[in-house]
């Protein structure tokens, strides 16, 4: 994704107490902390790099590296992150209590491109991937952009953010693997149904924004290509520094000359044009 020429906000490394850290769905937590400097500049799609240790100190710990989390919401001086327990780091994180210190580096990465004549925006979130699209959805709705929200989860107990998205006026479509709520099957099947009826859904200048498991992103990319809909993906990867120096978080990006180059999810991303990603 070509980043715009506008400068990205200055980065800060803040030691801040956790305000709240609560379970919001099966295996999923919402954590809030005060990070005024980060909240001020944060753009949709940007992320924070969080040091998870009981003391929040910069000493060696068994969890050495920070973990990247998308900025889920910004409310005044507070930012929040919506995360899934997927390993040791997020397990430890889920046990932290209000008042426990957290080290938060950010805001990091690029942002989504929102074209002027966009109509409608189609956001596709798989699992915790919807977290990367919430700030975008809020920005779109604030600008009065009609927004379709396609959300996928394994089941009802793991469904995220549906009420919040509905409240800001996103037209919601839900898919679950077990059919416990919404469409029984893949969210990409809903996407195809919508794209099959461009007039019924008033798809004059649509753009797809997606974040989720690799399999879903590949499927979304394929469908978007079939229907010629421009698509942006918020990519995720294991990260070392998140500052652009360790080159650990790269993804393979197609170049105009037909070759490819490894680009950093933390710096050139996390938002990429779907058509440029080599899977």
């Amino acid at each position: 994704m070509q980043t715009s020429t506008a400068a990205f906000p200055k980065k800060f490394d803040l030691l801040t107490p956790i305000i709240s850290n609560e379970q919001v769905a099966q295996d999923h937590y919402l954590l809030r902390c005060a990070c005024p400097e980060i909240a001020r500049g944060a753009l949709p799609g940007q992320f924070i790099h969080v040091l998870i240790s009981q003391a929040g100190v910069l000493q060696a710990a068994s969890l050495l590296l920070r973990r990247p989390f998308t900025i889920f919401t910004v409310e005044g001086e507070q930012i929040s992150m919506l995360y899934q327990i997927i390993g040791e780091g997020t397990e430890v994180l889920s046990h932290l209590k209000p008042g426990d210190p957290l080290r938060v580096l950010g805001p990091l990465g690029n942002t989504f491109h929102i074209p002027l004549d966009l109509h409608p925006a189609i956001i596709v979130g798989g699992g915790a991937g919807i977290a990367s699209l919430m700030l975008l959805a809020i920005a779109l709705r604030k600008s009065g952009v009609r927004t379709l929200g396609l959300v996928a989860s394994m089941n009802r107990a793991r469904l995220l953010s549906v009420a919040e998205l509905k409240r800001i006026g996103v037209e919601m479509h839900i898919a679950t693997d077990d059919g416990s709520v919404g469409h029984h099957g893949f969210v990409t099947e809903i996407l195809t149904q919508i794209l099959e009826q461009p007039h019924a859904h008033e798809l004059s200048q649509p753009m797809i924004y997606a974040c989720g498991p690799d399999g879903m992103l590949r499927a979304v990319t394929k469908i978007a290509q079939d229907y010629r809909i421009p698509t942006q993906l918020a990519m995720e990867n294991r990260m070392g520094c998140a500052m652009g120096v360790c080159l650990g978080c790269v993804c393979k990006v197609r170049m105009p000359d037909g070759g490819f180059e490894y680009q950093r999810v933390c710096t050139e991303g996390p938002v990429f044009n779907a058509a440029e990603i080599v899977w």
């Binding site: 200055k10 980065k11 800060f12 490394d13 040091l51 910069l58 000493q59 060696a60 710990a61 068994s62 969890l63 050495l64 590296l65 920070r66 580096l105 990867n237 294991r238 990260m239 070392g240 520094c241 500052m243 652009g244 120096v245 360790c246 080159l247 650990g248 978080c249 790269v250 993804c251 393979k252 490819f260 180059e261 490894y262």
Partner: protein, 307 residues
């Protein structure tokens, strides 16, 4: 404040530094990445990401994984190439009053020589660090650094191409590091960087697949500090040229242990990924230690291990 504050200034391997703390190659990019957090003028030296004769695209993903307490990487020296470095990265670094040490690597001797000649002619390079120890290349890199004859030939050939101070970065993945260290010394290097990463691997037991696409990678971070200290101490007792100690340094106290083992300066590596101000915190910690023990300079510590 002491009216005559302890000076941290050192002169190591022909490189004059405000303090003995550098950034380790590959952990600090080309300097500009940390501009929001660090005034580069405060660093002892900047060692930039390894440079090759032409740009390298690097290894497939996944490239990194955490292993307690440290990390494995198999980046494969993705870099902009020597011409790209001189045109696009070096001008920014010339804005600062800090020695720039350029780490160089190659698959063949001729590549090292080509990069050396270009850097020698460029303005703003304080020293060259020869990487003969990258564990993630299938040829070149570490294959030089595990063989004393190849090490001698490479260092000697590079030595003839430049009068710039030369450091040779040694691999820990050898039976006896002192043999390689002596070969590099005999070939005319001004100093030794000890150590590069330790070859390791990690496995996802659910899928029985390696955690890295390259299968093996280089281990760094606090996990390797005891190994690095031992190797610095062994090399210190085997050569008469200065050592830059590195391997898992997170704090000033870690750095002090390297000085005691025989290092004349240190480099902060993986810590930069966790703490963007890590080198400055290490400098502060070193300063505090010197004051606490009423020492006038780092020199009094170097190789002072009591056995």
């Amino acid at each position: 404040m002491n009216s005559n504050p302890t000076s941290l200034e050192v002169h190591v391997a022909g490189i004059r530094m405000k303090n003995p703390v550098m950034t380790a190659s590959g952990t600090f990019g080309y300097g500009s990445e940390y501009a929001d957090f660090i005034d580069l003028n405060q660093l002892g030296a900047i060692v930039v990401k390894g440079i090759t004769s032409v740009p390298w695209s690097g290894n497939p993903m996944p490239r990194i994984t955490e292993t307690p307490p440290g990390m494995l990487n198999a980046i494969g020296l993705q870099n902009v190439g020597v011409d790209g470095f001189i045109e696009k990265k070096l001008p920014y670094l010339r804005n600062f009053d800090v020695p720039v040490i350029v780490n160089i690597c190659g698959e063949r001797l001729e590549e090292y020589l080509e990069v050396t000649e270009k850097l020698d002619a460029a303005d703003g390079v304080a020293a060259i660090e020869l990487n003969i120890s990258c564990p993630n290349l299938h040829c070149g890199g570490m294959s030089f650094g595990v063989d004393p004859e190849l090490t001698y030939e490479l260092v000697n050939s590079v030595r003839e191409k430049t009068a710039l101070p030369l450091l040779v970065k040694l691999s820990p993945n050898v039976t006896d590091i002192t043999v390689i260290a002596r070969a590099a010394e005999a070939a005319g290097t001004d100093g030794l960087s000890v150590i590069n990463t330790l070859l390791g691997m990690a496995i996802d037991i659910k899928t029985r697949r390696p955690m890295l696409a390259n299968i093996t990678g280089g281990l760094s971070g606090p996990a390797i500090k005891p190994v690095a200290l031992r190797l610095v101490w062994q090399v210190y007792n085997a050569v008469n040229i200065p050592i830059i100690g590195m391997g898992g340094i997170m704090t000033g106290d870690d750095a002090i242990a390297f000085f005691i083992a025989g290092a004349s300066a240190v480099a902060v590596g993986t810590a930069n990924f966790v703490n963007p101000r890590a080198p400055l915190d290490v400098i502060d910690g070193v300063h505090t230690y010197l004051k606490q023990y009423k020492l006038d300079s780092i020199k009094e510590l170097v190789g002072s291990l009591q056995t």
